[in-house]
């Protein structure tokens, strides 16, 4: 086996990497079922090549691009990020990808663009969860343009130096480490620049429980459970949850003056 990469970049956490079996075996990916091991069991059948991504909306260079072409545009970077699920557990994940900002610069949002909307694949033939209903498909997520341009915001195509496993969102997934995991939309097929805040999947299902921002915040509880602590998968006792999942220094300024209880 190759020695594990050393993560010492400015954005890497120095915390130990979670077990790869946990990262690839304990997933929320309702397109493949609601159980934590359903994605690992069912996502194998997803065909991730050929795969095209539609880039449209308020951009100067709208286009449909093949995934291999798209990821060839940018040097791939390794990023070791914490991932905090809204359910109260967390992992430390060695992503590989490129900053969303790099893509946005290339496609050139117009001056009217304020938000980025992401749409995932919803194919009932390949995805048993889509066939079963459960959520309103396709899964949609969104970011404010300044959040999207933040250097921490990643489009991941790989994990642990290898191609992204299907259950982790292959071939293209969003990673926004200071937000709850459900913001990290998987199997992206479309990226749309818009001037309106996109209606996102979970905030449509339960608007009082899941907001558009979904910043990790130990002080704003989920209506049904506390967000003050989390279980790092692999550990027995819970640990305190950090504001913005430990990335406050990098991102808190984006929300200056905002009431984070209101914009949860």
């Amino acid at each position: 086996a190759l020695p594990r990469k050393i993560y010492q970049g400015p954005y890497d956490t120095r915390e130990p990497v979670s077990a790869i079996e946990d990262i690839t075996g304990y997933n929320n990916y309702y397109e493949f079922g609601t159980g934590k091991s359903d994605p690992a069991r069912n996502a194998g059948r997803l065909k991730t090549r050929p795969w095209s991504v539609v880039i449209d909306g308020m951009v100067k260079k709208p286009q449909t691009v093949d995934i291999d072409t798209l990821q060839g545009w940018f040097p791939l970077e390794d990023r070791l990020y914490r991932m905090r699920c809204v359910e109260g557990w967390s992992l430390v994940i060695p992503w590989m990808g490129f900053p969303l900002a790099a893509l946005l610069r290339r496609i050139e949002p117009t001056s009217k663009a304020r938000y980025v909307k992401f749409t995932a694949l919803a194919d009932p033939k390949q995805m048993p969860g889509v066939k079963a209903g459960i959520l309103d498909w396709p899964y949609v997520e969104g970011l404010r343009l300044d959040e999207a341009m933040h250097p921490l915001t990643l489009l991941a195509v790989g994990l642990d130096g290898k191609i992204l496993p299907n259950q982790n969102g292959a071939p293209l997934r969003l990673v926004v480490p200071w937000k709850y995991g459900f913001k990290n939309i998987k199997a992206i097929t479309r990226i749309t620049l818009t001037d309106k805040q996109p209606a996102t999947t979970w905030s449509l299902i339960a608007p009082h429980e899941y907001g558009f921002y979904a910043n990790v915040n130990p002080e704003v509880d989920h209506p049904r459970w506390s967000q003050a602590t989390e279980r790092r998968i692999g550990e027995l006792s819970r640990r305190p949850t950090l504001p913005f999942n430990g990335y406050a220094e990098e991102v808190a300024h984006l929300y200056k003056g905002m009431d984070l209880r209101r914009y949860f």
Partner: protein, 191 residues
């Protein structure tokens, strides 16, 4: 009959312990054990509620079944045992801090409801001995033990509120409870 019900109801426990020690409870073992014991508890309590309707239905069809009455107590008691383990795992998961727990119990409806169901189980367990019926008198004993329906209803609500999105399993539990409750009235009217 009763011993086999006891064995059947308790069998998941050693399996769970074995799974825990061999890593087969998955990446989040405490949560898995918590969910499994909760579901087992609710299942056994619903099964205990099914005993009387089953006996009455059989007798209307002309068959006298004795075993449902004999296993009812076992089902109820093991259901209560799993509720106790479920609560224990929850407390272990939360970590120390009784005050925090009480605060949680008051602030979060699904905890309040679950804890209430558990507390209501206590008098039922305490009056489950054979001589309890005699001591209390059958009518009073029966009235007290109708609380099981309330425990079942609170259990279903607790289950409903604890899942994130897919409400199918708690809906099934609610449906079973409603049918069992309805059967009570059918029986009364037809007598």
């Amino acid at each position: 009959m009763a011993p086999s019900a006891t064995i059947g109801a308790l069998l998941p426990l050693p399996v769970m312990v074995y799974d825990a020690f061999t890593g087969q409870l998955g990446a989040n073992p405490l949560q898995r054990a918590e969910q499994q014991t909760g579901l087992l508890s609710l299942t056994l309590i619903l099964l205990s509620l099914a005993c009387t309707p089953l006996r009455l239905l059989a007798s209307r069809l002309g068959t006298r079944l004795l075993w449902p009455a004999r296993v009812r107590k076992t089902l109820g008691l093991t259901g209560a045992l799993y509720a106790l383990i479920h609560l224990g795992i929850y407390l272990l998961d939360r970590g120390p801090g009784l005050l925090d727990f009480l605060q949680d119990a008051l602030k979060r409806p699904y905890i309040t409801v679950g804890l209430t169901a558990f507390l209501l189980l206590i008098p039922l367990v305490l009056t489950s001995r054979k001589d309890s019926v005699r001591k209390m008198g059958f009518v009073r004993w029966q009235r007290l033990h109708r609380l099981t329906y309330l425990v079942g209803a609170l259990g279903v609500l607790h289950y409903w509120w604890s899942v994130k999105e897919d409400h199918t399993p708690p809906l099934i539990a609610a449906g079973i409870l409603l049918v069992l409750f309805a059967l009570r009235f059918v029986k009364k009217r037809s007598r």
